[in-house]
Symmetry: D2
């Protein structure tokens, strides 16, 4: 179908990408999702219909098995509505959550892409916009499957791990 | 090969995306290429090796047949060096130049992607960064061929045309 | 009075500072006032009460005697309400309009400050925010009179002229 | 003297304004001074000659008496060179350090202005640029004395205190 509008579900879970500066405490914390006002509203997406689902709001080091079950069931639900899925997730356990979904999602009918950021969305030199833009394109053009998209590279899950010293991900 | 660095040639030709404000004249003009300092230096591209080739610096409405020949031969040269190619081009005749390359480039061995912007790179709400980020990912993950990438959508050349009233491209 | 909220009227007249990019034409034009959404809403002004008055929307080279009369009468009106006045104006004839007000406003009871920008508000490296921030402070701390504030310098009207080659103003 | 270049010394001491995000730790820390590359290089200051003096790099809650002595002696030194002084300082004890200077600096020959920010310099919606721009103008146009400049208001030291709940300063 020509010039079709593609439905994409953007599931947010917190993580560095959505940490916000608390001026009274002087610290960065996960509260509400920030991606809509800071990135989505600025991008030009005439051929995409994005629905935002704020699922969790935590540092990914605090993720429990229950959180991963919740994420898996949300992804299944969105896929069941025939929507591609982009997941925003903290980088520290992103590869673990992605592998958990890979192990428990058989015959994925559409692309599911995980991304996040090394620097929160509110910084001038954050990598959040780059990663979200890449994730939104990846989810459109990759074949069905589970991926991690980061810093201009697509990784196939589960063959990916965070490289903490380089501040990015790498293939294993 | 794991964690391979992919070579990409970024050919610039001018166009709205690289127009710069001339303070003494109060007008927007194509002079030198701007993409390096404004976009490339800010992106995180640990798995890409980008070489910038400033080929032309004109509004695409001024493009002549000679300019298109020059562009075609530059693309051929970069492909011959085993590099993927991203072309920055004015939107008004981007589809025409892309079609010209499509007609004259048989058996393209790697992806060649055209992109540009509706609003020059120097504006806070320019679509240049989005389009360049998308183009740099498209050139990495698409199969060999000639494409136009714009506003989170990949178009197959020559089935694409600018929609001036909507300020974007569309499939035909 | 401690921690008093100071009333300031911001009169906009167009000029480079408020030129907006028209994507279909590819040109910069004066239409509606832009300063509220781009600058005022971002600044922290707990001790100021700013009212915006969009008076004109033209390149200052197009200013007529009628326009200057209109501006003068708006300034008088705001001063009559006991409000300090900041005027946004094109740089090309700013010194002329400021001198016109100087010649026709005797016994100014509060500061009246003119400012503008060399580069429109929408550019990442515009001087608009700097000049507006400086103007809003100047209007608060200068003694009554008519001034031109630009690039971290306060000029006393009418001893000021634009230096076109340097892209700023200078004392004469 | 017409169009004179005014010498200003910018003394940095750390504080929220110059906290930087450490990507490997996920925290905000005071390291080197950031104001030059992020603010000074962007402003247009044709009539100012700014010299940057990075004195300390700490959260102002960690300031000791020794630090305040050091700051006082640096201010004296800069004033002795006939330079106006702008001090960047953490907000939590800025009023205390300013009062310390007020108590120990008699017959100040030029303006000394303290400022800082509620949100670090690297955030898109930081108040750092506003406060630095205001401070640089305040130091030029105020009469000799010690001031705190913040959020478009000039406070006379020592009649000023931080209002933590409002995220700004207030007169006492």
């Amino acid at each position: 179908m020509k010039n079709e509008i593609i439905p994409i579900s953007l599931i947010t879970t917190g993580g560095t990408i959505e940490k916000k500066y608390d001026e009274s405490e002087g610290t960065l914390v996960n509260k509400e999702s920030l991606v809509k006002n800071t990135i989505l509203n600025i991008l030009r997406l005439p051929y995409s219909e994005i629905s935002l689902r704020s699922l969790l709001s935590k540092d990914s080091l605090q993720f429990t098995d229950k959180d991963r079950e919740l994420l898996l069931s949300a992804i299944k639900e969105e896929l069941g509505k025939n929507r591609r899925v982009l997941v925003l997730h903290g980088t520290d356990t992103m590869a673990i959550s992605a592998k958990y979904c890979f192990d428990n999602l058989k015959n994925v009918p559409l692309p599911v892409v995980f991304t996040g950021a090394m620097k929160p969305i509110g910084f001038l030199d954050s990598d959040a916009t780059q990663n979200v833009v890449e994730g939104l394109l990846a989810v459109k053009i990759l074949s069905p499957g589970i991926y991690l998209s980061f810093h201009n590279k697509i990784f196939t899950v589960p063959n990916v791990v965070k490289n903490k010293s380089k501040g990015t991900f790498e293939e294993i």
